[in-house]
């Protein structure tokens, strides 16, 4: 099985009497309230999704990630995982413990190893390639507190998962893949209900591997994005009717999207490597937003990492060709535009607004029915 990133699968779930005490009573330790974004990073650190990270980044790792896309010890890492706090919000300093509280529960205890100052423009330029405040990732960074706390964490209470039965940790997926006898596993990340193009892409990848992990990112979304419920239900319908069950796993990843394009594609593949996947599907404009990134920049960046170990599968965009009578891309089909139908997002809007079920070559009827039946298909 592929090694966890950096060599060791991290588990920072605290156990024993100290946990039981701190989980309910912070005693004299200062408390800082964290939002959902930080809480999901915290959970991902504790569960080993972010192996080899054992806490929020200290300055050397942070600087190295910004400048060289690697941790200080040369392990590839592209997205800063930091704890920014507003000036004056935390009385604790270097060497002190800090309780991180989420929704009123003591979620973790952190040992503050180091604090440093955030330069939002430098951060955004490095991570997003822009400081444009319209960029949704930049906008979030601009709201960050300017003081950054780094240090190891121990989890006291898990973040509530909206879909606990779909929530698998790396330790669990690794045992699962091993039990199924999969040596090669390709991961597909998604934020959308599947159309036939997605199915074709996944099955093309699965042709070359033993198993497929469909891994929707759930959590905070933009207005107009599909709800997590619709994404999961539509995949359940698709898998139920069209996938061999012993070759596919559907589980969620609770994490905030940064819209960092190429850098985020590397980040996403590192997490799937920790899940035990050997391959990762990277399509057009992966983790992109607007026109901030070149369409294939998220594929090209992989050539800078000889030591990532998880291998990317690059795909162009798929379309349906009425002459070929199949899903195609520009490499596989010679026909002119009038023979081609794109898998447009507007197709799904039509289902919702007009109740129109798309033709079967665009979307499976079972999937369309799920979307049509959903009370709240989009984030309001």
């Amino acid at each position: 099985m592929i090694n966890p990133h950096g060599g060791e699968l991290i588990d920072r779930n605290m156990e024993g009497p100290a946990r039981e005490r701190l989980a309910v009573d912070p005693q004299d330790i200062p408390v800082f309230d964290i939002d959902n974004d930080i809480a999901s990073d915290l959970q991902n650190i504790a569960d080993g999704n972010y192996s080899p990270l054992t806490g929020f980044m200290t300055r050397n790792d942070y600087d190295n990630v910004l400048e060289h896309m690697r941790l200080e010890n040369d392990v590839p890492w592209t997205i800063p995982i930091i704890l920014p706090v507003p000036e004056g919000a935390v009385s604790a300093g270097e060497g002190d413990d800090l309780i991180l509280r989420h929704n009123g529960r003591n979620m973790a205890v952190m040992k503050i190893e180091e604090e440093f100052e955030l330069d939002p423009a430098r951060h955004s330029q490095a991570v997003f390639g822009t400081t444009d405040p319209e960029h949704p990732g930049v906008a979030v960074v601009n709201e960050y507190g300017k003081r950054v706390l780094g240090g190891e964490i121990w989890l006291l209470n898990e973040m509530e998962s909206p879909f606990p039965t779909y929530h698998l940790k790396p330790a669990e997926t690794r045992v699962l893949f091993q039990e199924r006898g999969w040596e090669t596993v390709v991961a597909f990340q998604t934020r959308n209900p599947p159309h036939v193009g997605h199915e074709y892409l996944q099955k093309t990848a699965l042709t070359m591997t033993d198993g497929l992990l469909i891994n929707p990112v759930i959590g905070r979304k933009k207005q107009g994005d599909f709800t997590d419920r619709v994404i999961l239900d539509s995949y359940d319908a698709l898998i139920d009717h069209y996938y061999p069950k012993d070759r596919v796993v559907l589980s969620t990843l609770q994490m905030v999207m940064r819209y960092a394009g190429p850098r985020e594609a590397i980040h996403h593949s590192i997490i799937r490597k920790n899940f035990g996947c050997t391959h990762f599907i990277v399509g057009r404009d992966h983790a992109g937003v607007g026109n901030y990134y070149e369409p294939f920049a998220a594929q090209e960046i992989f050539s800078e990492f000889a030591d990532l170990e998880i291998k990317p599968f690059f795909f162009r965009s798929f379309k349906y060709c009425h002459a070929c009578m199949s899903v195609v891309n520009e490499k596989t089909c010679p026909h002119p535009d009038e023979k081609i139908t794109n898998f447009a997002g507007t197709m799904v809007r039509k289902i919702v607004n007009e109740g129109a079920i798309p033709p079967p070559e665009m979307m499976r009827a079972e999937v369309a029915e799920v979307i049509k039946a959903a009370e709240v298909p989009f984030v309001q």
């Binding site: 090694n3 060599g7 330790a171 669990e172 091993q178 050539s303 000889a306 170990e309």
Partner: protein
């Protein structure tokens, strides 16, 4: 970074003809120096050399607990 920049890199020696060969080879590639090429190749070789995870990182007890959860969720029969 500049203040401790020189601590982050080491100089190593390679035969001059090899250096010249690499220099000729990297023209028109994404590599902007012999150093960046050599770093790339070494990282690749080193990562392929890592001993592989043989699936024995979990204790038998932990593994049974995980399997129990996977069964209860329907991921395993």
């Amino acid at each position: 970074m500049t203040d401790n920049g020189d601590k982050k890199y080491s100089t190593i020696s390679i035969p001059k003809p090899l250096f010249d060969k690499i220099k000729g080879r990297i023209d028109g590639t994404g590599f902007n120096s012999v150093s960046s090429y050599v770093t790339y190749v070494l990282r690749q070789v080193i990562s392929q050399d890592e001993p592989k995870d043989e699936g024995d990182v979990f204790s038998k007890e932990d593994e049974e607990k995980i399997k129990e959860r996977l069964r209860s969720l329907g991921y395993l029969d």
